[in-house]
Each structure stands twice: as structure tokens, then as C-alpha cells.
């Protein structure tokens, strides 16, 4: 999937200037959208918005509000984009938005650097089993964790 003129969708799970999409596509137009439905559903208080807004002000992004998929596609249309690049998230809401975007444009989801590279399938039934499986890796300074 080759994108010549993508936009970047920045979401709340990756508000870093080292965002993998910002690094991979320097200069590409980037957008953050306040998810109004989510803010209302979670009854998010002002201090959380202020904190996130301060994070956003360090990023080269346009900031809008509304329905996220609609706003991202509008922004893509305004810029004549041929695709959307974003960063991965385990959130089911992220997945639903991504699926809506994919009905209109190709979406490239870039991984964020993992905490550790698990060498086997992890048993997530209890933390103790997970920690048993990863602790050597987690305490190792020599692992090839850099992407």
C-alpha cells in the first residue's frame, strides 16, 4: 500500500512528538479530533481536556471536534489525501473508527514500540503468569526493543 499524499490521524493514545506516523511522514497534514460522544459518555472533566490539549500544543496537528471518522474524512478530502496513517491502539472504539475510515480510504496503522517482545504466546489469565513469562526480557537492557 503506497500512499503519496496521506494525512495523519493522531488519537489520544499516542500524543507524542515521537509519534510513529509523524516520524514516518514528516510534514504530512495531521489532525486530532475531540470525540464528543466519548467525552459525554465518560463525563470527562475539564482537567483531563486541559492536560491532553497541552500535549497537543506540542504536536504539529490541526485540532477539531465532533464525530471522529467524519472529521478525519473531511480533513482528508480537504487535503486531497490518498490515505490515512495512524498509530495502533487496543481500544475497541479505535477499531470501530478505523473500520469506518477504511470504507473510504486506505488506512495504515503503525505499531508503537512494544514494552517487551514476547517470545511466546502469553497467558493473560493472571498477571503472575504473564510476568513469569516476560520478566527476564523486561529486566534485560540488551534486548532489541528499538523498532
Amino acid at each position: 500500500m503506497s500512499m503519496q499524499n496521506p494525512i495523519i490521524w493522531v488519537h489520544g493514545d499516542c500524543l507524542s512528538p515521537r509519534h510513529p506516523a509523524l516520524a514516518a511522514y514528516p510534514g504530512a497534514p495531521a489532525l486530532f479530533v475531540w470525540d464528543e460522544e466519548l467525552l459525554a459518555a465518560l463525563r470527562v472533566s475539564l482537567k483531563r481536556i486541559v492536560f491532553m490539549y497541552e500535549c497537543l500544543l506540542e504536536l504539529p496537528v490541526t485540532i477539531r471536534r465532533g464525530d471522529v471518522a467524519t472529521e478525519v474524512l473531511t480533513f482528508a478530502d480537504e487535503r486531497g489525501a490518498d490515505g490515512i496513517v495512524t498509530s495502533d491502539s487496543p481500544s475497541p472504539r479505535f477499531r470501530r473508527i478505523r473500520e469506518r475510515l477504511e470504507t473510504a480510504l486506505p488506512v495504515r496503522v503503525m505499531p508503537v514500540e512494544p514494552f517487551v517482545r514476547a517470545r511466546q504466546r502469553l497467558d493473560l489469565a493472571r498477571f503472575s503468569r504473564y510476568w513469569q513469562a516476560i520478566q527476564v526480557e523486561a529486566l534485560s537492557d540488551s534486548s532489541d526493543n528499538a523498532l
Binding site: 489520544g12 493514545d13 499516542c14 500524543l15 507524542s16 512528538p17 515521537r18 509519534h19 475531540w34 467525552l39 459525554a40 465518560l42 463525563r43 470527562v44 472533566s45 475539564l46 482537567k47 483531563r48 481536556i49 486541559v50 492536560f51 491532553m52 490539549y53 497541552e54 500535549c55 497537543l56 500544543l57 506540542e58 490541526t62 485540532i63 477539531r64 471536534r65 480537504e78 498509530s87 487496543p90 481500544s91 475497541p92 477499531r95 508503537v112 514500540e113 512494544p114 514494552f115 517487551v116 502469553l122 493473560l124 498477571f127 504473564y130 510476568w131 516476560i134 520478566q135 523486561a138 529486566l139 534485560s140 537492557d141 526493543n145
Partner: protein, 275 residues
């Protein structure tokens, strides 16, 4: 362009006033603003101040050498991987960073579970091990907890801190959650929603699954504490001033509290004291 939100502010006060006007429902929820500043620069300053060995020795004390990185990690301003690397670089032997990295691993673990179960973080993962059924727990947070007017100096302080700062020490979160679920018999979901409104690091995975860990719907037994534990790790600051200090609902042995709170619990459900 029209529709774009502002990016130019002369100072923080102007930003806050703008956002309060743009998001009136959020300001109505609470117009308090945290002293914790968002952004990578602030995050890097906190990261540079991280001390893994003192953290391991003192982290359970409210006055302990905790990192205060959680909000930055939650929003990906810092990645878990880079905090892990910084922790290892800040010590001479990796074992000195083990406790801090173990706590980072909790977040990674919750995120991995979230990737598997999605909205299931809102549902009881398992039955309560308290001898009670889910329907025994009230669906809404009592007003005296939300407004910090229970009369318990500790819990009222935690409630006020949550709302005014958007932060609670991990141990305070556990005490408050245990009080809500086990002493007040309120469904953990009500407490989890309350925390997500206010915590700068509020995340459905870490937050909800930790509430479930306290509640016993994602652990082998309920988490409870007693006055001795709270008084020790809070350096006694609440108990000294508490109007209920001679009538404290937490002032008993774990065995007594267990019998009082969970009279119908199955035998092996000895309460866990702390993570």
C-alpha cells in the same frame, strides 16, 4: 480554517478559559485543573527525576518516591518501552529497577487484556469471591463519596484530591476502591466511571481491570485494608484529624474485617492485603 480549534494562547489561564467555554459540560463536571502540565517537555522532566531504587523502597507510602508518569504513559507521550529503558539506565544493577518495571508491566498486561476483551473491561470477568452476587452491589456511587462528605478524613481527602488534581497515589486508589466496593457495597463499575471522569491517566483497561482486581471479579479474592495499614502508609495524616478516629470502620484485624464484610464468603477467600 473555520472549525479548527485554537492553538495560540498567551498563557495557561487563557487556555483554560478557552477550553472551559468550548467544553461547558466538562467544566460543569468539574472546572478544577491539575498542576500537572501536559506535553513531552514536562514528561521528560519527570522521567529524568525517576529514581527506581527509592521507588521500590517507598512506593507504598503516599509520601514515597513515586514517578507521577502515569498520565504521560496513558496518552502515549512516553512509551512503556522508553520508561523501561530509562529505569534500567538509572540503576547500576537491573534488579534495582525490578519493582518499577514490574509496575510498568501491570499497564502492559492490562493493555494486552484490553486488546483481547475490548468492551468486556466493563463486565465482571468472573463472579465476586465475596459470598455476594453482582446484584447485591448498588449501581450508583453514593453522593457522600462523590462529594467527599462521608466524615472519614481519609476517604474524603481522596475524593477531593481525585476531583481537584486528577491524580491519586496507587495505594489511595486501592483503599478508596476497596471502601467503595466492600464497605459500601457499590458495584465497581460506578467507581470506575467516577475515576475515568477525573484521573488524568484514566484508561478503561488499567482503571477498570484494577477495580475488578480489588472487587475480586478479576482476582482470586477481594482486596481489603485496615486502619493499621492505611495509617502506616499515609504517615497518620488522616487519622490524626479524623472525626471518626474512635469509631473507624477500618480499625480491626484483617480476620475480623473479613468476617464482617464477607460473612458468606467461601472459606479460602482470605483477603489480599496489597499488591
Amino acid at each position: 480554517m473555520p472549525g479548527d480549534m485554537r492553538r495560540d494562547f498567551s498563557d495557561r489561564e487563557e487556555l483554560i478559559a478557552y477550553l472551559a467555554a468550548e467544553f461547558p459540560a466538562a467544566a460543569a463536571e468539574s472546572d478544577a485543573v491539575s498542576a500537572t502540565i501536559g506535553g513531552r517537555q514536562a514528561a521528560e522532566a519527570r522521567l529524568a527525576a525517576m529514581r527506581p531504587a527509592p521507588y521500590a523502597a517507598t512506593r507504598n507510602f503516599l509520601s514515597g518516591a513515586v514517578t507521577r508518569l502515569s498520565a504521560y504513559i496513558r496518552h502515549g507521550v512516553l512509551s512503556l518501552a522508553e520508561v523501561r529503558r530509562a529505569a534500567l539506565q538509572a540503576v547500576t544493577r537491573p534488579e534495582e529497577a525490578a519493582k518499577l518495571i514490574n509496575e510498568l508491566a501491570w499497564r502492559d498486561y492490562w493493555q494486552r487484556v484490553y486488546a483481547e476483551i475490548g468492551e468486556g473491561v466493563w463486565e465482571n470477568r468472573e463472579a465476586y469471591k465475596t459470598g455476594l452476587s453482582a446484584s447485591d452491589y448498588a449501581p450508583e456511587l453514593p453522593a457522600d463519596i462523590a462529594t467527599g462528605t462521608t466524615g472519614l478524613a481519609c476517604m474524603d481527602a481522596f475524593s477531593h484530591d481525585l476531583i481537584s488534581t486528577g491524580y491519586l497515589h496507587n495505594h489511595a486508589r486501592m483503599w478508596l476502591a476497596a471502601y467503595v466496593v466492600h464497605w459500601r457495597r457499590v458495584a465497581w463499575q460506578a467507581g470506575a466511571r467516577w475515576f475515568l471522569s477525573h484521573l488524568l491517566d484514566g484508561d478503561p483497561a488499567s482503571n477498570n481491570l484494577s477495580w475488578q482486581w480489588v472487587a475480586s471479579t478479576f482476582s482470586h479474592r477481594p482486596y481489603i485494608f485496615n486502619r493499621e495499614n492505611l495509617e502506616r502508609y499515609s504517615d497518620g495524616v488522616y487519622c490524626r484529624e479524623c472525626p471518626l478516629r474512635s469509631n473507624c470502620p477500618f480499625d480491626a484485624s484483617y480476620e475480623t474485617l473479613q468476617a464482617r464484610l464477607f460473612p458468606d464468603a467461601p472459606p479460602p477467600a482470605a483477603p489480599r492485603r496489597r499488591r
